[in-house]
Assembly symmetry: C2
Homo-oligomer: 480 residues x 2
């Protein structure tokens, strides 16, 4: 095979020879290009957006860190080590900066897993089923099942009645839950509100399922009147329903009780529907909210619940928890050849570190710790909403939610600085445990200050967002 | 919500109060149940096996580590911290032991990522497309694209002609590659040899594709005569083919040249087939084998290649690399609503640590380092095969492979100790860079010693495995 010549772009490094110890005094920007703020994106947030334009050619190739071939004498000179250390130090600095100014994504960035550093030396892999040991010994199933039990208790299902596993992210949970539903009802129609996460519609396409997009209320909740109309139009086919426990953009919680009631009223009995709850963010928070009327529980006729592990809990890498009823998995594993030996997860090899991170956090914080954090988030979200309102900025905060929706800042530089998610004319801040009052004050002061310059000459006007948040929450010229 | 009473099984810990510093002297087994060897599995290896019995009720619940609620005064007493430290110390010990005796899975357990420990404090997430920045700033796309470029060069495709991403594991790569193929040919038939990884057949089921299982030669390679017969039986429909670069059990490499020739001979032109190469293990090794005639290259009409990152390279968590042609991704992102903004990965949130691990390894070792390691593995595999042969034990080693297949040890305790993968009457050892001659000698001495006792009274006979490895490699009573 012909390999192209090895590119060597590290000449500036050769001055470093033998000066490894002085690396901290070295001007890192001479070695590594400073990472620019991400380019302006015309609309949307990348993870969660259905209607963003397709941007082609905005290629990270311009800023990427090439893998460079070691020189023959690197071991002797230490040049390569010095180069790598400088890249990593520079990168770490940018991560610290970016972590400081982060408000838009529902990630709890406040965690301390120092005690787990010792495990990074091991290739921990929970391949296959969490409940069945494989011959590969370097695994962490004992932690994984401990975590699953904790969630089973939270969502009220007995140990011998559930099956579940730690996923790689919320999307994997949705893909799994909907697949379980489809296997239960091969000709079922998938129903999901328009504001559902895009992975739900991706599942429909992947699995070749008929899919009905259901309208939403202003809050972002599923509109059960439209749901009913669509159910009646497909009444001969079983229903597979994705119910949102915290939509991506508005943090809206679908009314599970009303969804089940609508199914019954439309003539769908228990044995003709499957409900998957996408609890991405609020699946963990809601059980701790007093009198939350729509709480997730397996005492209701739901089939599966998924939640992200890196969101409210905080985790260095994305992960999630998926819980379903054992009967569905048993049915699957009897039916299909590829599930022999209960190959019931989406993936084969599975990250064994994530369960240990989750186990560690759950054990340290406990139910009480989470309760305290949930209340703090809801309180801080209310604070942000009130301060925005006082400043005359359109905003909305759903009940049971810590996602504050508000008028999209005019300046994209500002959006990128605070890493806000945007869609059309709205932006949001998701108040996580790592978002303190101080951080919110910094953000508010920055916003109010900058905003006064954006609109000072009267040429531009703050947008009307009544269609997104309702006229009572809109503070535009015609609604205030 | 009613939560069951918090279970407190940590009474033995209370003697620890205030003695955190003495934790190393503490008898850990009093706190944590020692983890037993995994239970005996009747046939197979859990990750890679199609025909293992379904084992229900072998539940890790018996050994799991419960998440315990902190006590009110934990912060003051330090009891909880002591408990957690003891659990982790005990776990670390078992990981070291298990890592030492590991031969059956193709994981390189020999890595040193100490320099990357500093990054564990960050929630690094490459959500969405690797080549398009999202507003979430705590990402590692610059490393990811650097790694992808390295593989693009290895597999001979230009930077502006490929698209790819770092996956969570080999399965995700296969699921992605086959989905790309299906979107290119919606009514295509999926062809894969019987010895393909189970994720290939899982994909067929998930995606509702027609699937033809093609027979294999003794070596484990796809039988192109049978392939041709099956192509001709479906000649009106386009073909999507999974080609194996190292099968799971025998490490067999499908003959890509012959596969393409068979397609042509059966009347399938370039625009009527899509080839996905499952390079799980050998996709990275083969380019370094001198005169490998069947090497992976995008100069041939293939559509995608996937490879695992935690196998030959070694990585604390499973991961993989997926490379496909840009034209397929462009076609996808134009066609489908859910791919707006190029949602072209399987998952939404993506592990940002894995790309940094890979970047670090590739940068340190380089092409030359990998070449050296590949040769060492092939040499050591040959050594193991020869020693088994000398000891009169049936065994086989495919050309271009470091997977040594041999007679399944009679004693399941032995199988579990060395964490061997088994299928029917055969077992295998995958010689990775972490498998030294010393480790192989330990294994061989243990095997030869134990084996003499298994068969000493003449009641049991070593199994005939001619059907699996060919009569020339079988050393059973009738073939030796």
């Amino acid at each position: 095979m012909n390999l192209p010549a090895i590119v060597s772009g590290r000449n500036c490094l050769f001055t470093l020879t033998g000066r490894l110890a002085e690396i901290e005094d070295f001007d890192l920007s001479a070695v590594v290009q400073p990472e620019p703020l991400p380019p302006i994106v015309t609309a949307g947030n990348g993870d969660k957006q259905n209607d963003r334009e397709i941007v082609s050619g905005r290629n990270v190739h311009t800023t990427c860190l090439e893998v460079t071939e070691p020189e023959a004498n690197d071991e002797f000179t230490g040049d390569k080590d010095a180069y790598m250390a400088s890249v990593l130090a520079r990168y770490r600095e940018s991560l610290m900066e970016r972590t400081k100014y982060h408000l838009g994504y529902p990630f709890n960035l406040d965690f301390d897993y120092g005690a787990l550093g010792q495990l990074q030396h091991f290739s921990i892999n929970n391949l296959g089923d969490p409940f069945i040991e494989s011959n590969y010994g370097v695994h962490s199933r004992q932690f994984e099942v401990g975590v699953l039990d904790w969630f089973a208790r939270l969502w009220e299902i007995e140990k011998n009645e559930y099956w579940g596993y730690i996923t790689n992210c919320g999307t994997e949970g949705n893909l799994h839950g909907i697949l379980v539903g489809r296997e239960a009802f091969p000709n079922g129609v998938l129903y999901a509100s328009r504001e559902s996460h895009y992975s739900v519609f991706k599942a429909a396409r992947m699995y070749r399922m008929d899919c009905e997009k259901v309208d939403c209320l202003i809050s972002g909740e599923i509109d059960c009147a439209d749901f009913k109309a669509k159910l009646l139009a497909n009444k001969d086919k079983p229903a597979i329903i994705n119910v949102n426990m915290g939509t991506t953009v508005k943090g809206a919680v679908d009314d599970l009780v009303l969804v089940i009631q609508t199914l019954e009223e439309s003539g769908f009995s228990d044995d003709r529907f499957y409900i998957h709850c996408d609890g991405a963010l609020f699946g963990l928070m809601m059980p701790f909210v007093k009198r939350a009327p729509k709480v997730i529980t397996f005492k209701k006729p739901i089939g599966s619940v998924s939640v992200s592990g890196h969101k409210f809990m905080g985790c260095p890498m994305p992960c999630g928890v998926q819980i379903t009823r054992m009967e569905h998995i048993n049915a699957l594993s009897r039916n299909v050849e590829y599930l022999a030996s209960r190959d019931a997860t989406m993936m084969g090899s599975r990250n064994g570190h994530a369960p240990i991170f989750l186990w560690y956090t759950l054990s340290r914080k406990g139910y009480k710790g989470f309760q305290k954090e949930v209340h703090k988030c809801l309180r801080n979200a209310r604070y942000l909403k009130d301060r925005l309102h006082d400043a005359g900025i359109s905003s909305m905060l759903n009940e049971l939610s810590s996602t504050v929706v508000f008028e999209r800042p005019l300046d994209e530089e500002f959006v990128r600085r605070w890493q806000l998610s945007c869609q059309g004319n709205i932006a949001h801040v998701v108040v996580m445990p790592s978002v303190t009052i101080e951080k919110l004050d910094d953000f508010l002061n920055d916003l109010v200050g900058k905003r006064s310059t954006w609109y000072q000459d009267g040429e531009a006007q703050p947008p009307c967002i009544a269609a997104d948040v309702g006229s009572e929450n809109c503070a535009c010229a015609s609604h205030k």
